[in-house]
């Protein structure tokens, strides 16, 4: 409760400073709108449904691509950890592509798929997959070999060892990789949505770019706030429970 109050005071303080700057008229109100007008925009967009539908479009793109990226990346990570030949090929490719800012997939995706949902999907998958492969591989390689030996003496073999020992043993790394993959996918999707209009669905990135074209700073900042809240919620809902579980079991202090 004390932490909640502290956070509340901090954010209310931020709003007060913002309103103060607006009232001081240092900058044009076109560049620095009041928090109230941003709130009014958000309220209106929420009521007429544009905000809701844009959020749904964006989150659907993100979740589909992310889920697919995990479904491919996790097994590939295990395979590259297991087979030397895959480590020297796919592992190296993943390492290289992971250093590539995921936004760089956008031009290629647009040329390949045109202004379609497939392009968005491709960008999100590319954002997710390399981090997940590398983290999974790292995780598997960093498991103390004694775990696998102990499991073997107790009669664990093959698939059982992978599912019951290697997978849970690598989990701290895997969760880290999933988090990074999520962040990369989220950033590249936003870039793609701002960069190009896709007629099959108007996402949050489109709304923000639309605000720029209309010179509507309240809209731009309003959408930024929505993105920020989505990012926070994703962290709290998708990853915080895992991280809590890991801390509790592994006892890693953070």
């Amino acid at each position: 409760m004390k932490r909640f109050i502290r956070a509340a005071i901090f954010f209310v303080g931020l709003l007060v400073v913002w309103e103060g700057l607006y009232l001081a008229h240092i900058w044009s109100p076109v560049l620095v709108p009041s928090p109230l007008s941003v709130g009014r925009y958000l309220w209106g967009a929420a009521l007429d449904g544009t905000l809701g539908s844009a959020t749904v479009v964006t989150l659907r793109r993100l979740l589909y691509g992310y889920a697919f990226g995990l479904a491919i990346g996790l097994p590939l990570g295990f395979l590259t950890a297991h087979f030397r030949v895959l480590k020297d090929t796919i592992g190296l490719l993943a390492l290289g592509l992971q250093t590539l800012p995921s936004v760089c997939w956008v031009p290629l995706a647009l040329l390949w798929f045109g202004q379609t949902e497939s392009a968005m999907f491709f960008v999100v998958v590319m954002g997710t997959i390399w981090s997940v492969i590398i983290a999974t591989e790292d995780g598997v390689r960093n498991i103390p070999p004694i775990y696998a030996r102990a499991a073997r003496t107790m009669g664990s073999r093959g698939l059982h060892t992978w599912v019951k020992v290697i997978l849970p043993g690598a989990l701290p790394y895997i969760v880290g990789g999933m988090k990074q993959g999520w962040a990369f996918a989220w950033r590249s999707l936003m870039a793609a949505e701002i960069y190009v209009t896709i007629l099959s669905g108007f996402g949050l990135g489109f709304l923000m770019n639309n605000g720029r074209e209309l010179n509507a700073m309240d809209q731009v900042i309003g959408i930024m706030l929505v993105l920020l809240v989505i990012g926070l919620l994703a962290d709290k809902i998708l990853f915080a429970p895992w991280e809590r579980m890991l801390r509790r079991r592994w006892g890693t202090a953070k």
Binding site: I146, Y147, R149, A150, M154, G155, G169, R249, W250, G251
Partner: protein, 268 residues
């Protein structure tokens, strides 16, 4: 299968190590870890393999466990040669090797779940039994990082005992513990050994520990690993590591150990 039959005291196994040799090739060159080592272990005997590092005692234990293969020779358990790990031989390591993602009870259940013909309820009862045996039934739901070093090794002991093996292989299980905890565990291990009648091979470099625990202490010498001498310790149990008679045995073993080292240095 019932809990009673699962928990019955199994007949301990007889082991025969026959002319086992093993070499390793590494970047540092060729290491002759074991050179034609032979040893017979009776049913229910407590054997301590003692020696300086490099004498191949852990390698020998791994071969008996089936985790490593001998280049030459074989280990026979109750008539059949050992080729791979089996539930009849459970192993305990210097680090507990407990799984951090499982709580204490689930760690003990790990081996039991791999045993066919046991129902969930029966497995739980068996796990319960062994946790009680090592005095940790209150910590079932704890996670590994919440336990002290001594408690971890107790859980590891319970986990190794749970599938009811006939042989227990212990690789310096108490080396990382403080002296007081260690003494407690010497007492517990002797009690459990007498109650559960296992054949135990216990690897250590601690002379007193070997004299305290073993029916026989097998002194090994390095480069190449060989059996140098054998000591029978016929003191009554439970033995106290601080007793005078035990110290006498330990002194004799120590003298032989030092002699071997001096010889090795002269030879080099």
């Amino acid at each position: 299968m019932t809990v009673q039959s699962e928990l019955r005291v199994e007949v301990p196994a007889k082991l025969s190590i026959q002319n086992v040799s093993k070499s390793f090739h590494s970047a540092g060159g060729h290491v002759h870890a074991l050179d034609r080592v032979s040893l017979d272990v009776a049913e229910g005997e407590f054997i301590c393999l003692l020696g300086p590092s490099g004498c191949g005692k852990s390698t020998l234990l791994n071969i008996v466990a089936g985790l490593e293969q001998a280049d030459d020779g074989q280990v026979v358990a109750d008539g059949g040669p050992i080729r791979e790990p089996g539930r009849d031989r459970m192993m305990m390591f210097q680090e507990s090797a407990l799984f951090p993602w499982l709580n204490v009870r689930d760690n003990v259940l790990f081996g039991l779940k791999l045993k066919p013909n046991l129902r969930r309820k029966e497995r739980l009862e068996v796990a319960q039994f062994y946790l009680r045996l090592v005095g940790l039934e209150k910590f079932q739901r704890s996670f590994v990082h919440e336990l002290s070093g001594g408690m971890k090794q107790r859980v590891a002991l319970a986990r190794a005992l749970a599938p009811n093996p006939r042989v227990l292989l212990m690789d310096e299980p108490f080396a990382a513990l403080d002296a007081l905890t260690r003494e407690q565990l010497y007492g517990d291990l002797q009690r459990i050994w007498q109650e559960r009648k296992k054949t135990i091979i216990f690897v250590t470099h601690n002379v007193r520990e070997a004299a305290c625990l073993g029916d026989r202490v097998i002194l090994m010498s390095p480069h190449p690993g060989r059996i140098q001498e054998e000591f029978k310790v016929d003191l009554p149990r439970p033995r106290d590591i601080n007793s005078v008679e035990l110290a006498r045995h330990a002194t004799a073993i120590m003298a032989s150990l030092k002699g071997a080292r001096a010889n090795a240095e002269v030879a080099e």
